[in-house]
Point group: C2
Chain length 225, copies 2
């Protein structure tokens, strides 16, 4: 819901209107959304510590009182945002499931899956959020663990399910699907995500994603067929 709203903006988004009616408060919801959008941008650009509730209120064009009324404190606002953004992981998981079930040629299909998965994970907002959560993990261990379980681990779980279905179709021989899924993920996207984290100025090229996907899948298929 909140993801959709963030993506589309309010104007001309009929489901947004319906959602607001269902939640029973058009103006409150609009303010909440404005605060969430402003805070996400500020946290991503400036980090948690470098962002004040005053700045968030100013960027959202609401009073500081309104911010506190909606979110209690900065920590709760931060937690709400991270949770909302991890809904993105659900869509990545859905993509994984759909692509796995389309596989006919194993190696070609896994390369396509690897490319789609890596492309989704190295989108700048995802990388920025990952960077933000890692940098605040000491201060918010529960939040970081929650993010990890809902986002990266959600992708691994979807992959594990997919690999099990491929094993059921006799295309792979898998003992431990979760371990195999982690291996697949780190083979194809590990180097790419690290490059994105450590070198934010240099864009990730499709050719780089394709190269790691092909090389990683080759190793994976050699081990699991």
């Amino acid at each position: 819901m909140s993801e959709r709203r963030r993506g589309h903006g309010e104007a001309g988004a009929p489901h947004g209107v319906a959602d607001r009616r269902a939640a029973g408060g058009t103006r409150t919801d609009q303010k909440r959304q404005a605060i969430t959008q402003a805070a996400t941008g500020l946290f991503l650009r400036q980090g948690y510590e470098g962002t004040s509730m005053d700045e968030i209120a100013a960027a959202a064009a609401v009073s500081k009182q309104t911010v506190y009324k909606q979110f209690t404190d900065k920590e709760q606002l931060f937690a709400t945002i991270v949770t909302a953004i991890t809904e993105r992981a659900e869509r990545i998981a859905e993509t994984i499931n759909a692509l796995v079930d389309e596989i006919v040629d194993l190696e070609a299909g896994l390369v396509q899956l690897a490319r789609a998965y890596t492309t989704a994970v190295v989108q700048p907002p995802v990388v920025q959020l990952r960077r933000l959560v890692i940098s605040e993990a000491d201060r918010f261990p529960v939040l970081a663990r929650t993010y990890y379980q809902r986002a990266p681990a959600r992708g691994i779980a979807a992959l594990a399910g997919g690999l099990e279905r491929l094993a059921g179709r006799q295309l792979l021989r898998i003992d431990d699907a979760t371990t195999a899924a982690e291996q697949f993920a780190y083979l194809v996207l590990g180097p790419v995500i690290d490059r994105a984290l450590f070198d934010p100025g240099a864009p990730i090229e499709d050719s780089e994603i394709a190269r790691y996907a092909a090389a990683g899948v080759r190793v994976f298929v050699a081990a699991y067929t």
Copy 2:
């Protein structure tokens, strides 16, 4: 040099005395070392943005003027520290080289190498530095890239050289040693380092390291023999 001094402290370290004479300034070096130690701890605990030059001066028991005289500004002090700490990567590279050249039984030897490598990389100060550099990568892209090239990429390069020597001994069949080294690294330590980054409260157990080492090496050996 600075690594050795940091490790041993000044007192009773004969090479420290010699170094200081060569550098021509006992008191200056002592102050520089005190500032570096204090700043490293503060940056690691509080992040770059959350640490002031005042705090660093207080923690090092020197005047703020002395801090600025030695390091120009906070950015330069931060850069000096990150560079110094990445010297640790050289020692990890030496460990990799030594272990590769001891390998007799391929799979058992690679598992031993994987365990030593992962154990070195998930030491709390290494993880904290990695977290700090990732969190500041947008602000200091050159520094982050430099860190990456000197630390994680240094380990990969050592691994690549080692895998080439194993191929020379006919123990492995490798086309692209750097890609194979990245695959080895991400297979055996990728999930462990991410767990350390996202879940700093839960210690990394030897059994977890051993499990990923064994599973990763099994996949690697299946693909490259």
